[in-house]
Symmetry: none
Subunit: 498 residues, 2 copies
DNA sequence: GAAACAGGTCACCAGGTCAG
DNA sequence: CTGACCTGGTGACCTGTTTC
């Protein structure tokens, strides 16, 4: 993936401590985080601009930058990147490109007033309060981290810092993908409801699909704020621009070297945590859809990914837009797998949303809209509510990308996920901060990724055939029949399972 | 359903090793269980609070948490688990929570004298020795597992880690589930008379519960002592509050890293193992089931599971009560592979069972009695003699699976399969070899959208149809009917399956 | 037929190393 | 100190099994 280090701009080695960074910045952050004493005060009033060449010149500013881009010890991600993560990265990338293109175009007019965001982007909030090059503090940031950015006075409330907002982002958001891109459409033709034919991917017509509910699992989606220059306002309606520090980094607070004088970065940190928590906890359950379920989700995910990738391939500057909105959902644990989608003509039904009640602890509903401008023909919209797939069922092999859709089990509950976290307290003692705080929030953040998609021929074939399948299986059924019962008893084993 | 990982709080991927957990905790437990040496001592005195963000910070505490929430390799099995298993686990959990709450409440009064347990609980023994937030060791826990929770001094017998007496746990107690919670009642839908009355679940009055209509197969129920905060007194009359470690985890015992210093959690581990083993081996045989057959059971099962899950979701401290009774069973070691059952009306064909071979060394005869009070009509008895099908299963080590088996022949043999496993060799360890294997799928990475889709024709079809599928249960029901019961006993394997 | 779970695979990341 | 490189571990995804 072509990611660049968010701190210095060098090609990124990976996603480290919550941000795409190079090896150097990764190591630097890792070393510095627990050894603030080694960081001397900035001689330039904390205003150093960090880039590849001068990154070693001012440790204070480098660390500050790290924190600004969302690095956090608690924001670490382990293991393979989920397909959702990849999708988001791709979308983000597209978005950025589009934004850049738009900006370039608009600059002629007025530099100060950013062009109104596309309708779809509107929901994201203001695009840019932060100066170019600087990112707003991430939700993932812990209190300490935020403190480092400029707050010294913050008293950290108590042990339970984190939960609040940070997590909320990630975890709960569901995404609606609205694909408008004509390109995609063109590729496929409207699908028939019955058959998915090759057109499968054509989002539009896809009635069934259209309703796809696939929602990314909570942790999989990079924080929206990170994805774009500004963080998503919807998530923090009550305090725009207000970030709440997490308790996590308190130890860092004592070190004033990292604070810069720029007031623009100062954050409020009243105890708003609870507020955030509440807002974040909304679930969206709306998905209604039931019928389709996993299958739909699977297809959807894959579909999206493909669409995104293609769109990227075709038009460098994709017009895909992602909007994130928070919906309240019903707390009902029950399933919410349903997918709802509406096409252009129809528009998204609100009813879907109706469910939302704020009650649910956390859910955010995110909408992603992809547009392909290159083709403006028919633009259709596909709105998809995605629910986190969770179950792996999919089978994909390992391909890098392939999003295998997994079917999730449609468990209904998808939405409820995140709630927990509160407990975090760190344990211990040690110092580390890890613990506590914010854990939640961080999910991954991210950036763009390009991945290659894989393929699965058989799948393709099946799709092409419109299904066909195979059925090989009777054997197993036969066996089943033969077996009346099986009982295993194990002497010692207490556990029995039914 | 929207379960969260009981270890870290992340959305659960499924029910793994006895508890709802995320993929990460599942893998962690799987890896750690057989490789305790990789776990270093907690730097925080064993008091780390595990959550999503910091779960990787302390392996010792993470593993301890896994054990506390009931994870056990001994209780695991290869394929899907029956709903009974889950039901019991859930009930157990509820009970624990309730007990913990009660205990917390009562501690004010007198710590030493636990409040009298609810009638239904009475049999279980004292409710709460464990502090809130901590779970009592579960029945599934093997000695080793228990040891890990708090015992350091235990010397582990030998190298052979697993095999020992693990089995003991499981099996023996049967459980009557008495559901009182009104909540549950409400949740469930009325059942069909045939099947079970709807009221079935209404516990309350549950006199019968009173007679549970459906009683889980012996092996499936977690040991009562583990089910609740306290272990089941019946099993350990001589030493209350004394938990005995299962032999299974002895290898773990040697590792003291997992123990935390909190004395409250300390367990006795005199060599009482044999005692436990004995007590654990009791089987309950009486079941009589009645009219309803499997179908009813199925429905019931499903119903219960749903009710339990819902109730959990709603009220953390569920009111569901579970009573456990110990039945003496015939210890007969003989094996009888065959299963004999007699049902009232129909009876199960033995022929089906014939497959089972007695080969397995151990067989226990278990009687399961299920009563459905709701329906009192004819009560039938089904006596099943279970024979351990394969031994393999039992013990399997870790990987029963043996992939090698692969389908091949019919499964009848399946049962026998596992035995082997031991060999699991990992494949490769070596290096890599890996594989290539998967190549097939991949095709090239490509581009076209169509390709990306993969398999799962059915899925596609479903989507295409826009529908949902579903409900095909009948087929399954039919099978169920055919199958009277399934019990597997594995010598070593504690886990039984139904 | 499809869901769900144990186990395997391997893309990825935190950390540790150690020349520079 | 820095950061390329290595190592241990992590967990998303997949395969095969078992249940529904
Ligand atoms: Zn860098
Ligand atoms: Zn500076
Ligand atoms: Zn977990
Ligand atoms: Zn610890």
């Amino acid at each position: 993936m072509n990611q660049t280090c968010k701190v210095c701009g060098e090609p990124a080695a990976g996603f480290h401590f919550g941000a795409f960074t190079c090896e150097g910045c990764k190591s630097f952050f890792g070393r510095s985080y627990n050894n603030l004493s080694s960081i001397s005060e900035c001689k330039n009033n904390g205003e150093c601009v960090i880039n590849k060449k001068n990154r070693t010149a001012c440790k204070a500013c480098r660390l500050r930058k790290c924190l600004l881009v969302g690095m956090s010890k608690s924001g670490s991600r382990y293991g393979r990147r989920s397909n959702w993560f990849k999708i988001h990265c791709l979308l983000q990338e597209q978005q950025q490109q589009a934004a850049a293109a738009a900006a370039a175009h608009n600059n002629h007019n007025s530099q100060k007033t950013p062009p109104p965001p596309p309708a779809t982007l509107a929901m994201l909030g203001h695009p840019g309060v932060y100066p170019p090059g600087l990112y707003p503090p991430r939700p993932n940031c812990t209190k300490e981290e935020l403190m480092l950015l400029g707050l010294d006075d913050y008293k950290h409330p108590a042990a339970s810092p984190s939960v609040s907002s940070p997590d909320s982002h990630n975890s709960d958001s569901s995404i609606d993908v609205n694909v408008r891109s004509n390109t995609l459409l063109r590729l496929g033709k409207p699908m028939d409801a019955n058959s998915m034919s090759k057109d499968l991917f054509l989002p539009l017509p896809f009635p069934g699909l259209s309703s796809l509910p696939v929602m990314p699992p909570p942790g999989f989606i990079p924080p929206s704020h990170l994805l774009f220059p500004g963080y998503h306002p919807a998530l923090y309606p009550h305090h725009q621009g207000l970030l709440k520090p997490a308790a996590e980094h308190q130890h860092l607070l004592s070190n004033s070297h990292l604070a810069n004088n720029n007031s623009r970065y100062a954050l409020n940190h009243n105890n708003n945590n609870h507020i955030n928590s509440i807002s974040n906890n909304n679930n969206l359950n709306n998905n209604h859809i039931q019928n389709n379920t996993k299958a739909a989700e699977e297809l959807t995910k894959r579909f999206y990914l493909d669409a995104v990738l293609k769109s990227q391939q075709r038009s460098p500057v994709a017009t895909t837009t992602v909007t994130t909105t928070t919906y309240t959902t019903t707390p009902t644990p029950m399933h919410s797998d349903s997918i709802s989608s509406t096409k252009k003509d129809h528009h998204v039904d609100d009813d879907q949303r109706q469910d939302d009640h704020p009650t649910s602890p956390h859910d955010h509903h995110t909408r992603i809209e992809t547009e392909d401008e290159s083709v403006d023909g028919e633009s259709e919209e596909l709105v998809v509510a995605m629910t986190p797939p969770r179950s792996p069922r999919t089978n994909m092999q390992d391909d890098p990308i392939d999003l295998s859709m997994k079917t999730g089990s449609s468990h209904s509950s998808k939405s409820s996920i995140a709630s927990i976290d509160d407990n975090r307290h760190l344990s211990g003692g040690e110092s580390d901060a890890h613990s506590e705080d914010n854990d939640d929030d961080d999910e991954t953040t991210t950036t763009t990724i390009t991945t290659t998609i894989q393929k699965r021929p058989q799948f393709v074939a099946a799709v092409a055939n419109n299904i066909s399948e195979d059925e090989e299986e009777t054997e197993y059924e036969r066996d089943m029949k033969r077996m009346k019962m099986q009982v295993t008893t194990t002497p010692l084993d207490l556990t029995t399972r039914v």
